[in-house]
Structures are given as structure tokens and as C-alpha cells.
Subunit: 297 residues, 2 copies
């Protein structure tokens, strides 16, 4: 298997996620004196590229116009753009990837990209569809960090054309970056589940902040409101795109949530203490049974 | 002013909150060799009392039947029982408090207790109605900790009979325990605001867990679902009591939340990207403007 420390990594997009992955690769795979690997990065944000160079995170930077020049040198490419731009990028630069390269993306919605596979795949380039389940309510390279992946989930959606040795290689790579649980599934189940764990949560957090009477409410906060709404410091254009790209799944989960909310609301309205306590006890049991990784903040 | 280190503190109820307050008083006010203060505690849970003695958190323990014996010796009393029991306790032991004592509670709902004041107050005992905005999804003395108050809010609802010097004294006490922001308000506004920041959040978290398809969903979690539902590992009897004791306020906030949820849902259903992005951007601005204390987990 290829050694992680001697490969050339390329980033198309060096924002929060691209920046964090690049920093993790630098810190965990390329920090020894013998490492001959390199990190190349392309972004339209020149300040981000300059900062990444200055901090020694990347070795070379490229403007978007020079993307093809970068891609032809990279063994591993992470496309870390917004979902629609990811698809456009993979199509536009299909011919420019290095033969034998492993290419992956980080999109939060997968149906579009997987349906575009015929326009993306090349026999000698392996595209592995993936979703690192990490992030921050703060965006951009400035807020990127190599630590956000520790103990997190990574979802992979292998397809028939993927070479087994590349899937194995990629799993080793993301494990080395700190991810501790890799779930393999297909893109439809991914989009269905993610609409619940991620998109619905962002909708709820946003609605909760929207319904707040004023911004002074946190003088009465004890942590619950703060925890529920941290993700409402939302990257509006990105999440608009994610919500709409996964609209049907998200709407179905919103409906199911509303049914549960109504069930609890009815018990409160009816002052049905026994019924309410029974539902809350079942909720406690269900939530306690969920295996959650202890997340470092 | 009386010295915090030479007072006798009494706890009626030594669960998560009583235990945490007792530990904080022990660690922050009574840890010097010259401190002559004591901590007495009453609880129906003998194991909790034994543990508190063994760990040196309290100096003497009392069974519920001996509550009056404890109260007559205490300069400061924290009643840390469930809301309805708090009212019952304050009424039942009205005659047993030490003359000159300062008594406070920790109830999450205040209308009931404040309407019972005529049956609680005594001219020579000062009852200060308060709400420490801290806690944990884990209950009981075993999970108590002196650290949960750092940087937290404490809400005080002074009333006309409170002596200004006692309010000042009590503020100094809770500040010494780690609370960093004290908000003074009246009980009606407290119950209105808390129905939003606390009870509505617990309803939403519970409904979200209720609507989860299965307990394996967290394999697809990236932190959002985990953060939104940590409080759904809920103490069902306590929150049933809190929801029902503040029913009208809570139902009004649930209705407002549903309006906001519907507004966002409609924009998603209509695939109105511009409208959706505009609402999310406003949410981001509103949430970012909220001053939240950096909470230590």
C-alpha cells in the first residue's frame, strides 16, 4: 500500500473543511523529517491561500484557473466545495486528474453527485463518495482545525467501480486523520439519514432562534437553548443549498418531527401527567441507548 | 456582612443540584483551616447522604423526619426539592427555620411558590426566590459536581419583604460559587422566559428523539443531533412536573416555535432559495448577537 507520508494531496476548496483536512494531513501524516508528501490547494479566496502558505499548511497554491495544473500532480484529491459546485468541478476537470488518483468529496447531500457519476467517472481515476461528519458553526479556512475530526463518524458510499484496494487505502487515510467510526452505506440511505441527523437539526435550531422574542433571552439561559442553537449561527447559502438538494427527505423528517411534537404538546395541553411521563421515560431510554461518541468541543 | 466561611449551611434535598451546591460551598468557602462553617443535609436517599459524608462534602446528615432539627441550626438553607415538594416543605417547616435565616430554593417554575408566599413567609426569616441556571442530563448526588456553576446565570426574583442586605449577601454567596451573571426579575417574567430557554428546548429535544427511526441513527451523527438531544436523557418525573406547572407559558412558546418551523418548512417546500437564505441569514445574525457565556462541558 502507498505510504501516506509520500503522497501529493490536492484540495479543491480550502475553507473550513478543506482547511481542516489539510491541517490534519500536515500534522498527522507529513510532520516527520522523512515525509516527502506535499499538499497543494486551489481556492478562489486568495487570503485563505496566503494564510495556508504562511502557516505552512500547504506547499503550493493555485488560483481556480490553474486547477488543472494542480490536479495532474495529485495522488489524492479532496473536493471541498459546496454540493452543486462539487458536481460541476468533477465534471469540468474530469480529464485533468492524474491517472491512478483517488478523488473524494465532502458533500452533505449525495443523490445529485451519484446520479452524475457517468459524467464524472474515468476508468483510471477512482472517485470515492464520502461525508466526514464534522464541522463547525464557524466557516472558512480561518476557523479550520486539525482537531475537529477526533472521534467523529465518516460515511462512505462505495460504488461498483471503486477498486477494493482504494477503499481500503482511503479508510486507512481517514482513520489516520482521527475519524473513529466509518459507516458504509448507499447514497439514498445516506441522504435519508442525514436529512434527520443534520438537516432537520439545523431547521429546528433555526426555527427556535427565529421564534425567540429577542436576543437578550440568553440572560435566562442555562445551557439548553445555547446547545440547541449553536448550529443556528448558520452558513445560510450552504444550508439553503443542502436543504433544497435534499428537499423530499427533509420534508418527510420535518413531518415526522411535527407528529412527535404534537403528541407531546397534546399531553401537556391535556395536563396528562402519566401519559407525558411515560413518553419522556421512553425518550430517555431511547436516547440513552444511542451510542454517541464523546465529542470534544 | 457575615463571613461565608463561618456559617451553617443546610440542604433540604441532596440530589444533583443540592449536591453540586454543597460541593461548591465545601470547595470554595469552607476549605481553609480557619473555616468554622458547616454543611448539614437532609434527604430521603440514605445512600446519597452516606456518600456525601464519606466524601467529606457534608458534616452531618438528617433523615426527612429530622428536618426540623436541622433547620433550627442553619443560617442559610437551600431547598433543593422538586417544585411541588419545595412548596410543601416551605409550608410544613415554616416554624422550624432559625430566626434570621436566609432560605432559598432552586425550582425551575416560580408562579406556584410565589403565590404561596403568604403561607411561607415569616417576618424573621428571609425567603429569596432563586433559580441557578445550571444542571445536567444526569441526576442525583452521584453526578453532582462543584464545577457546573462556572460562568452560569442565576436568576433572582426578590420580593418586597426581602431585606436588601440579605439580597446583597446572597448575591455575594452565589457569585463566590462560580455564577457570573445574576439577573433580577419577577416570577411571572421568569416563568415566561424559562418556558422558552429551558422547557421548550426539552420538549423539542424529546420530540426529536421520539421521531428518530431507531437508536442506530447516531452512526450518521456529526454532532448536531447529539447536541440537540443531550437533554433528552431526561429526568421524566421532574420535567413532567415542570412542563405542567408552567403549562400556559410553555404552550404559547410551542405555538410560536411551530409558526417559525412552518415558515421555514414552507420555503423549503416551495424551493424558495432566496427566501430561505434570507431567513437563515437573519437567524444567523440574531443568534450571533446573543451573548452566551462560554460553557465548560
Amino acid at each position: 500500500m502507498r505510504s501516506f507520508s509520500n503522497l501529493t494531496y490536492g484540495f479543491a476548496g480550502l475553507g473550513l473543511m478543506g482547511g481542516s483536512l489539510a491541517k490534519a494531513i500536515r500534522a498527522k501524516l507529513l510532520d516527520s523529517a522523512s515525509a516527502r508528501g506535499k499538499i497543494l490547494a486551489m481556492d478562489s479566496n486568495m487570503a485563505a491561500l496566503a494564510s495556508a502558505m504562511e502557516k505552512g499548511v500547504v506547499d503550493e497554491v493555485f488560483e481556480p484557473e490553474a486547477a488543472a495544473l494542480m490536479l495532474k500532480r495529485c495522488d489524492i484529491v479532496f473536493v471541498c466545495l459546496y454540493p452543486a459546485k462539487t458536481i460541476d468541478f468533477l465534471k469540468e476537470y474530469r480529464a485533468d486528474f492524474k491517472s491512478g488518483a483517488v478523488v473524494s468529496d465532502i458533500s452533505g447531500v449525495k443523490t445529485g453527485i451519484m446520479r452524475s457519476l457517468p459524467d464524472i467517472l474515468r476508468g483510471d481515476v477512482d472517485f470515492i463518495c464520502g461525508h466526514p461528519m464534522a464541522g463547525s458553526e464557524k466557516e472558512g479556512f480561518y476557523h479550520s482545525s486539525e482537531y475537529i475530526f477526533e472521534g467523529r463518524n465518516y460515511i462512505l458510499m462505495p460504488h461498483l467501480s471503486n477498486k477494493p484496494e482504494n477503499i481500503l487505502f482511503f479508510k486507512g487515510l481517514i482513520g489516520a486523520l482521527g475519524f473513529s467510526r466509518i459507516t458504509e452505506t448507499d447514497y439514498e440511505l445516506h441522504d435519508h439519514k442525514i436529512a434527520f441527523t443534520s438537516q432537520l437539526c439545523h431547521v429546528i435550531a433555526s426555527a427556535l432562534v427565529e421564534s425567540a422574542e429577542d436576543a437578550e433571552i440568553t440572560a435566562f439561559g442555562g445551557g439548553s437553548f445555547e446547545d440547541l442553537t449553536r448550529i443556528a449561527m448558520i452558513n445560510a447559502p450552504l444550508w439553503t443549498e443542502l436543504f433544497l438538494a435534499n428537499r423530499a427527505e427533509l420534508l418527510a423528517h420535518i413531518d415526522a418531527f411535527k407528529v412527535s411534537l404534537e403528541k407531546i404538546t397534546d399531553l401537556i395541553r391535556d395536563a396528562d401527567g402519566d401519559g407525558l411521563c411515560g413518553v419522556l421515560e421512553a425518550v430517555r431510554v431511547k436516547r440513552t441507548a444511542m451510542s454517541t461518541i464523546e465529542l470534544t468541543k
